[in-house]
Amino acid sequence: MQAISVTKSESGFTDGLKAGISIAIGYMPVALTFGLLARTTGLTLYEAVLMSVLVFAGAAQYITLSLLAIGTGAFEIIFTIFIVNIRHLLMSASINEKVMDDSPWKKAIYAFGITDETFTVSATKQGELTTGYMYGLCLISYSSWVAFTGGGYIVGASLPSVIQQGMSVALYAMFIGLLIPSAKKSRKVLFLAGVAALLNSLFTWAHFSTGWAIVLATLLSSILVEWIVGMKSNE
C-alpha cells in the first residue's frame, strides 16, 4: 500500500509540472521585464531576485517598482500591495474546496504558490487536486519566475521587440485556453466569465484600483450566478 501511494503522489507531482509548462512559458517575458525594470528602478540584483523569491506575485511586484520609482514610503507600498492581494484570499478559499485533505503544513507550503495563473490552471482541472500536483504546478511556475527575474536583470535587455510584443499576450492566451473548453460545454461558465468580464471592464473604466476591480467583479458574478441557479432549482 505504501508503495502504491508513493507512486500515485509522484505522478500527481509530474502532472503538476506538466500542467505548469504553459505558466512557466507565460511568466518568461513578464519576469524578464520585471528584472529589467528592477534594474532601471535602481534595485540591486539581489534585491530584485529576493523580491521574486519571497513575494512571487507579478502584479504586486510591478506596482512596487512603480511606487518605488516615484519615491513612495515603505508603509504605503506595503499597504497598497496588501489591497492588491485581497484576491488571493478568494482564490485560496476557492481552491480549498477542491484540494485533497492534507496536513496544514503541507498546505501552508503550496499556499505560497497560489497566483492568478496557478489558481486558474488547478481550479479548472477535472477532479480532486492532490498535494503532489499542487507542488509540481507551483514549483515549475515559481522556478520560471525566479530564474527569469535574474536573467532579465543580468542580461539587461528583454527579448527582441517583435517576440516581446508577441509574448505579451501569452498569459491572456492561457486564460482563454482554460476558459473556452468549459464555456463550450456550459452556459453557466460562459455567463460567469461574461458577467465578471463586463463588471471588471466597468470598474476599471471607473478607475477602481486593479485589486478591488477584479475581486468585486469576480465575487458579484459568482454570487449572482449562484443566486439565479438557486432560484431555478426552487421553482
Binding site: 507565460g26 540591486t44 534585491e47 529576493l50 519571497l54 513575494v55 512571487f56 506575485a57 511586484q61 512596487t64 515603505a74 506595503i78 499597504f79 500591495i81 492581494n85 484570499l89 478568494l90 485560496s92 478559499a93 476557492s94 480549498n96 474546496e97 501552508a108 499556499a111 497560489i114 492568478d116 486558474t120 481550479a123 479548472t124 517583435v162 510584443q165 508577441g166 499576450v169 491572456y172 492566451a173 486564460f175 482563454i176 485556453g177 468549459s182 463550450k184 461558465v189 460567469l192 466569465a193 458577467v195 465578471a196 468580464a197 463588471l199 471588471n200 471592464s201 476599471t204 473604466w205 476591480a213 467583479a217 465575487l219 458574478s221 459568482s222 450566478v225 449562484e226 441557479v229 438557486g230
Partner: protein
Amino acid sequence: MSSTMLMIILGLAIVTYIPRMIPLVFFKSEKIPASVQGVLKNVPFAILGALIFPGVLTISDNIMFGIVGAGAAFLAAYLGANLIIVVMVSVSVLSTYAYFFS
C-alpha cells in the same frame, strides 16, 4: 542591500503570503455553508473572465494587438487545441502581426 529595501521586501512577502495561506490552512470545507461553497466553486470561471477583460486589450497602445492575440487564442482553443498549443499559436500569430504592423 539597503535595510529599507529589505524591510519593504519582507513586508511585501508577509502581506502577500497571509491571504494565500489563511483559507487553505484554516478553513474547514465541511463547516462552510452550501451557498458559500457554491459561490466559491463559481470563482475560477468568473475570475478568468475578469483576468482576460479588459486587460488583454491593454497589452499594447495599439488595441489591435490584444484583439489579434486573443482572437488567435480563442480560435485555437475553440478548435480543441491543447493549452500549450493555444499559447504558442497566439504568441506566433501576434509576433507575426507585430513584425508587419509595428
